[in-house]
């Protein structure tokens, strides 16, 4: 309002008034970054060039994965990157290299501990952005580099957690056995440090993260007397303690923790139809029905379609970051489609109307996009699509029908905490595996182990 008044005021002064221009539609560029060699620190007597090279490669690999940087050729600053000048920068000399940012690195190893010093400079701004010293066991230098890369991203973009978050997945051994159990695994975002979290010899599915990053939940099949049923379990990552959140008859799956950590939305089918309920993991209250109470806005824009108990088929909820809405997939009107529902007004809106099967929606951490998997009628394979929460700007993100000449499925998208990357499962290599990629698909990496078939990724919140 104040600006409007300001503009009006300017306009009213007459011909001699100052000119007011609004410039929009900026071109987007990558940041030119120079990464200096990893030099031994002054008090380090016995340098290890192999380790230095490995650290350099890892730093570059991490920053490359962000897809935000363009790297200045090492040859153009070879003469400036002197081992004895880890701490000093002559901005005038660095300007002709074209680098916008310069990362200088120094290291030493003492008693099995690696010390890495990272200094980031803004060359055109002629100032130091940060200088930090890190220490960690030398065998785990990768994690140390992840921390440095996270700090660089935080300093430049204000976002954190890309490298220090982890991905849950469900994996089974590829070797044929009489019974192949599916267990819950956890991995770093680059596929390193893969650990098995469960050894129950049963089928596990739909893992999800609590927003604190310390608890997870998943569903497992269990023997219950003579029958087998499903149980939704809560798992403390630091102690390994587990408890059952819900083990009602039928489905107890597809849990999604609210971003504020107070509730879990999950699909239960004890009523006879799969419905979305809210569960409170901290108290053992009864499940609170949700999807049977919503009414869907009619496509014509006039009036609402109430939920009919006999047609309910609501699964795979995902929360909006502000805890006020849920996106889910529902077959209540025929083929499974994507819907959003407002928790306060209990009004739902159908987002997708085409395709044979639309499933596994995931609301972005910024709240502006929703990813989901959809099967098209003609091609028959699943691809990842993106849509705005109001139903606009539907776009296909993966193209499995063209990738390898055969039909490839890409399913189960899950967002990185920064909202620039996502993970998904795909069978492009034959068996299902987990991949992480940027939204434009320019960087894609497989992170699941090659000796396992993995599905259902869940990208966790930033650590620490």
């Amino acid at each position: 309002m104040a600006r409007l008044l300001f503009v009006l005021l300017l306009g009213s002064v007459g011909a001699k008034a100052a000119i007011y221009i609004t410039v929009t539609g900026a071109d987007v560029k990558k940041a030119k970054l120079a990464i200096g060699q990893v030099h031994p620190l002054p008090d380090f007597q016995y340098p290890d060039p192999k380790l230095a090279h490995e650290i350099h490669t890892q730093v570059r690999s991490d920053l490359e994965f962000t897809n935000l940087f363009e790297f200045v050729s090492d040859a153009s600053f070879y003469h400036l990157d002197h081992p004895k000048k880890v701490y000093s920068v002559s901005f005038d000399e660095w300007t002709p290299t074209g680098a916008a940012f310069l990362l200088k690195l120094g290291y030493k190893v003492q008693a099995g501990k690696l010390t890495l010093e990272g200094l980031l400079f803004d060359i055109p701004g002629r100032k130091k952005i940060f200088a930090t010293r890190y220490q960690y066991p030398v065998q785990q230098y990768v994690r140390l580099v992840h921390t440095l890369a996270d700090d660089i991203l935080k300093a430049l973009t204000g976002e954190r957690g890309l490298f220090l978050s982890r991905v849950l997945m469900i994996c089974k051994e590829l070797r044929r056995k009489m019974i192949t159990p599916k267990e819950v695994y956890i991995s770093d975002v680059d596929g390193k440090n893969v650990f098995r979290l469960t050894s129950d010899g049963t089928l596990s599915l739909s893992p999800s993260w609590a927003p604190d990053g310390k608890h997870i939940s998943y569903t497992q099949y269990e023997a219950r007397g003579r029958k087998r049923g499903t149980a939704l379990k809560w798992h403390n990552l630091s102690t390994g303690n587990r408890k059952i959140i819900s083990a009602k008859e039928g489905m107890n799956s597809g849990a999604a923790w609210a971003p504020n950590g107070r509730k879990i939305a999950a699909t239960l089918s004890f009523s006879g139809r799969p419905e979305i309920y809210f569960l409170n993991p901290w108290t053992d209250g009864p499940p609170e029905p949700f999807s049977r109470n919503i009414q869907v806005k009619r496509i014509s824009g006039e009036g609402y379609q109430p939920s009919l108990a006999s047609l309910l088929f609501d699964v795979e909820p995902s929360w909006s970051p502000d805890n006020t809405k849920i996106v889910f997939s529902s077959a209540r009107s025929g083929n499974p489609m994507i819907y959003t529902a407002d928790l306060a007004s209990k009004v739902a809106q159908q987002l997708t109307f085409a395709g044979k099967y639309n499933a596994t929606p995931a609301w972005s951490p910024r709240g502006d996009k929703i990813l989901f998997a959809a099967q098209r009628i003609v091609e028959g394979n699943f691809d990842i699509y993106m849509i705005d929460p109001d139903g606009n700007n539907l776009a296909r993100i993966t193209s499995g029908d063209r990738a390898t000449g055969r039909k490839v499925n890409s399913e189960n998208p899950t967002w990185a905490p920064t909202g620039r990357h996502f993970a998904f499962q795909s069978n492009e290599g034959g068996n299902y595996a987990i991949y992480v990629t940027t939204l434009d698909g320019s960087v894609k990496r497989r992170i699941s182990p090659t000796d396992k078939e993995c599905t259902s990724p869940a990208w966790g919140p930033p650590e620490g």
Binding site: Y20, I21, V23, A26, S76, Y87, R133, T198, S199
Partner: protein, 271 residues
């Protein structure tokens, strides 16, 4: 007597039945042996379940299948807790850190001489490439400017007249008359000139950044001074905005009075 009866019975068993019986016995024996030999791993895996029960039995009621005790030595395989991976220790800033802005202190000559020939060649090539790129960029910029100007004139020819109908004495050839006032034309050219150099980093999109800059120009159109009236609070975005202004080839105003009061420019990354 009894044994005789038995003998009688055996005597009456047909040979084919005996063969079938023996074959069945052999098959069953082989199946059982191979299951115990090759299926052992599978059994070991199942024993995990028993240990898992011990871990969380205080929390939940678990109905698990009873499993053989003799393979319980594999308990150590199971670890439901997440291996501890601490965040690397982050220490304070290195004490010795200092920036050296004075270039004259840097003695780079000996290092340059000591460099291998191949590296020298490479650097030469890099520099040459950079020079060529700059020249190309300049050419492209000029071309774009011409195109933009032409576009502006074409547009003026179609739409400008309609809007200003009644104020123009004749259709004539003057683009000034066609586009509107001299001030409007100048404003459009300045906006175009700055926009051509308005480049931001990918992470600055969709964050609602706004920077407002006040520009003063000489009567010749050359930039005199610029200052940030309102910062976006992202120093790199503010720098990008100032760089766009510095690099823009601002047009010459038709009337010096147009620029007397200065120009206020509001920058937003999105359209």
């Amino acid at each position: 007597m009894v044994s005789d009866t038995l003998n009688q019975r055996y005597l009456h068993v047909p040979l084919s039945a005996i063969i079938v019986s023996v074959a069945l016995h052999v098959v069953v024996t082989i199946t059982l042996l191979s299951y115990h030999t090759f299926g052992a791993r599978h059994l070991e895996k199942l024993t995990d379940k028993q240990f898992t029960k011990e871990i969380y039995q205080s929390f939940i009621q678990v109905d698990v299948v009873a499993l053989p005790d003799e393979i319980s030595h594999d308990k150590k395989m199971v670890d439901t807790s997440l291996p501890t991976v601490d965040k690397p220790k982050v220490m304070e800033q290195p004490q010795e850190i200092e920036t050296a802005p004075a270039p004259e202190k840097e003695q780079m000559t000996p290092l340059t001489e000591a460099r291998p020939e191949a590296k020298k060649e490479l650097i030469k090539k890099e520099r040459l490439k950079a020079q060529q790129e700059t020249a190309l960029k300049k050419l492209r910029d000029d071309l774009r400017r011409e195109k933009a100007l032409k576009g502006l004139q074409d547009k003026a020819g179609k739409e400008g007249r309609k809007r200003l109908a009644g104020n123009i004495p004749s259709k004539g050839v003057s683009t000034v008359g066609a586009i509107g006032t001299a001030k409007e034309r100048y404003t459009a050219l300045v906006a175009q000139a700055i926009k051509e150099h308005f480049r931001i980093y990918q992470w600055q999109r969709n964050k609602g950044l706004v920077t407002i800059v006040f520009i003063e120009v000489y009567k010749t159109g050359k930039l005199k001074d610029r200052k940030v009236l309102r910062s976006s609070k992202d120093p790199f975005f503010d720098s990008a905005v100032l760089q766009a202004i510095d690099e823009a080839r601002l047009p010459v105003p038709d009337e010096p009075s147009i620029v007397a009061e200065g120009i206020t420019v509001e920058f937003r990354p999105e359209e």
